[in-house]
């Protein structure tokens, strides 16, 4: 081994170790000097604060760790809703931008330019306070279809009250498993005998029939609980029962999806335009309809261009959801890096956990999208 090659490596390693050592040593000394202790024991302590909206059962008598889970689940919830809507809007707008219809093309272009050039925080404030100003008080609201109530205090929707919910879920799982087997069988049959099986109608049929059977014979029973107005004071009202979606969730999801959709729309446009014209002409010349050209020829090729930059947009959306704290949506940053940090004063521990959590969320999205990207990539045969 050449010492001239090894020594610089060793030096680099030494410098890295020394720099890290210096910072952690300094932090330790400073924390000791100021009487700050370090440890993660606080996570099991009682949190003693409440959160307005939670997917799991939680109140102040639970631990800080549970409060962390509440925040994490709320972050995941708003990110998933945001990603779904951003994708739908983005694809529609992206394709609209390629339309031959002048009006549609211009409308889509204006939407993209308008929403992607205004800072996101401003848009979140706009949707939140616009919603608060525009929505009616609980007592003034007109029900939609008699059961949905959109008010300033939230969107109140009916809830299902289940008996033997587990049997219902088993019936759906059973349906999905049988569909997978049928698909494998159908594929084999087509390869061996060249006969196509109507997989789609069989699948839909199974998904309908099995749950219905569980209602008829499995003792499953669902009733609908409609929100009912409740008077709190002479001028204050709210709704009770059903499910409540807070206005913070609605406006945050709206702002995130409208903002991110503009970028996804541009990815989609780039992807479709990236497919060479000859492909479309060749497809048309063998007699495919315009819809078939899009579905069978253009989209499979465009997706390969669309997926990688869209992954970035999904990651951005997830990270941007941390702006929730500004409008009181109890996400990870508000609940854990906000209230919990304040009540415990454990800045280093909580910030490090929060950073690691966002890192893991982002990496999970990346891994999934990379897997999908690989799946649709060109498979050389």
């Amino acid at each position: 081994m050449n010492i001239k090659k090894i020594l610089p490596q060793l030096l680099t390693l030494l410098v890295v170790i020394l720099v890290f050592g210096f910072f952690s040593y300094n932090a330790q000394i400073n924390m000791e000097n100021r009487g700050i202790t370090f440890g993660y024991g606080f996570l099991s302590q009682e949190s003693s604060f409440d959160v307005q909206f939670s997917l799991i059962e939680y109140d102040g008598s639970h631990s800080y760790f549970r409060a962390y889970l509440v925040g994490l689940l709320n972050t995941i919830l708003v990110s998933v809703i945001g990603i779904i809507f951003a994708t739908i809007i983005g694809v529609v707008v992206g394709i609209a931008r390629l339309s031959n219809n002048y009006l549609i093309e211009r409308t889509a272009a204006i939407y993209v330019e308008f929403f992607r050039n205004i800072p996101l925080l401003l848009q979140i404030f706009f949707w939140y306070f616009a919603a608060l100003r525009a929505l009616p008080l609980p007592q003034d609201t007109e029900p939609m279809f008699g059961v949905f109530f959109l008010t300033i205090k939230g969107f109140f929707v009916p809830a299902f009250v289940w008996n033997n919910l587990d049997i219902f879920i088993y019936s759906i799982i059973a349906a999905i498993i049988s569909i997978i087997f049928i698909r494998i069988y159908a594929k084999r049959k087509q390869e061996n005998e060249g006969i196509q099986t109507p997989v789609l109608s069989i699948s839909i049929g199974l998904l309908l029939i099995l749950p219905v059977l569980s209602f008829l014979f499995g003792g499953v029973d669902a009733s609908i609980e409609v929100p009912v107005i409740k008077q709190l004071s002479q001028s204050g009202f709210t709704y009770e029962g059903g499910i409540k979606l807070p206005p913070e969730l609605i406006s945050l999801a709206l702002a995130l999806s409208l903002y991110t959709a503009t970028f996804i729309a541009e990815c989609v446009r780039a992807g479709v335009q990236g497919v060479s014209k000859g492909q479309k002409e060749a497809a048309a010349s063998i007699g495919l309809t315009p819809n078939q050209v899009l579905k069978l020829v253009v989209m499979p090729q465009a997706l390969r261009i669309i997926i990688p930059p869209t992954t970035n947009q999904y990651l951005n959306l997830t990270k941007n959801s941390s702006l929730a704290a500004a409008i009181a949506y109890p996400d990870l940053v508000l609940v854990f890096a906000g209230t919990a940090l304040m009540q415990t004063g454990r800045a280093i521990e909580i910030v490090s956990i929060t950073m690691l959590t966002y890192l893991s969320l982002s990496i999970s999205i990346s891994v999934f999208m990379n897997w999908y990207n690989k799946k649709i990539a060109i498979k050389e045969k």
């Binding site: 000097n33 009487g35 409440d50 004071s233 709210t238 206005p247 209230t339």
Partner: protein, 346 residues
């Protein structure tokens, strides 16, 4: 080979110097904060993002308020000029980190003194400059006249990361009322959301309610309920571990309160040097060597009174005359039926 060895030695030497430098300054016995403040020429003070009466900036960027006056008093004592203060507006969430990480030297930001904050997170509370308590604001037309009128399902807007969140839970739990907490990072958003009707009640310290009420679109449509659900002694905070600096801030505040007790004001402070009362003479630095004990000159307290005024003047200027809380309530001197009582300066 030798070339690298030389580089390595110099690197090790450099790191060694860095380490000795840090350990040496840590061990310095004198007040580091005082020395740094005198070197910089201004006091670094953390305040709120705008709470009328306590710490609020006008259009020209001039800060006023009783919390602001504590920092001004320290600047007058340490630097001789009450205007040599650099104010840093902080959210409730940022405030303690800013102090412990050396961004500011005094946190004077309507902060409640509690055991866990004092003991746990590297902070030291030096006194109380406002005795407060948490209350509720509601709409007049709701007909609610007492906290006992709240019903299950009530939604309450408040600030994130405050003792308010904890008191609110204790209160509603003790009444067995299920409630919806809506917590915002900044006070302006709390006010806007409550004003729009998102919440049935707005809860925070009563002084805060009185101050924020002015920002509502129709202040007269809202009332603050009479009950107080918690003790909120608000006061300035310093970093743990610098007892000299801690003493300077504590006694700057105490000087303002004691000056009111002895009737020393910004107008008559100079003439009080010849007072017959030895306590008054000590207070304005005409007798004794009290400044030296703090590492300051003997005129330090006189400058505080002359430039900032006594506590009563500060309260009147910032809280009473602005119509926020004309009645001093518990924040009256102990000699006049309040609970303001400070140890004697001697």
């Amino acid at each position: 080979m030798f070339k690298y060895l030389k580089q390595l030695t110099s690197l090790v030497a450099m790191v060694a110097v860095l380490f000795t430098f840090t350990t040496e300054t840590m061990a310095a016995k004198k007040s580091k904060t005082l020395k740094n403040t005198q070197k910089k020429g201004f006091v670094r003070c953390g305040v709120s993002q705008g709470l009328p009466g306590f710490s609020n900036a006008d259009a020209a960027g001039n800060w006023t308020g009783v919390d602001v006056d504590v920092c001004r008093a320290v600047a007058a004592a340490v630097l001789g000029d009450a205007n040599k203060v650099k104010f840093t507006p902080l959210s409730a969430k940022e405030r303690f980190t800013a102090l412990t990480s050396n961004e500011i030297d005094i946190l004077s930001r309507n902060t409640t003194w509690t055991l866990s904050r004092d003991a746990d997170i590297g902070l030291t509370f030096v006194g109380v400059n406002f005795y407060d308590g948490q209350g509720f604001m509601v709409r007049k037309n709701s007909g609610i006249s007492s906290v006992n009128d709240f019903k299950a399902g009530v939604s309450a807007c408040t600030n994130l990361g405050t003792t308010t969140e904890l008191n609110m839970r204790d209160f509603f739990n003790s009444k067995g009322i299920q409630y919806e907490p809506v917590t915002f990072e900044k006070a302006d958003e709390v006010v806007a959301a409550y004003d729009a009707g998102r919440c049935d009640t707005y809860t925070t310290d009563k002084s805060g309610l009185a101050a924020q009420r002015i920002k509502l679109s129709n202040p007269d449509d809202h009332i603050v309920l009479p009950e107080t659900i918690s003790k909120e002694p608000l006061g300035p905070v310093v970093r743990q571990g610098d007892s000299v600096w801690e003493d300077i801030v504590r006694w700057s505040l105490n000087t303002m309160i004691e000056a009111e007790e002895y009737g020393v004001t910004s107008a008559n402070a100079d003439s009080m040097k010849t007072s017959d009362n030895p306590a008054v003479k000590r207070l304005v630095g005409a007798e004794g060597e009290l400044g030296a004990a703090l590492g300051l000159d003997n005129e330090w307290s006189l400058r505080i009174i002359k430039q900032v005024g006594n506590y009563g003047e500060s309260y009147k200027r910032n809280i009473a005359d602005t119509g926020i809380l004309p009645d001093r309530g518990p924040n009256e001197l102990w000699t006049k039926g309040g609970i303001l009582y400070v140890p004697p300066a001697r």
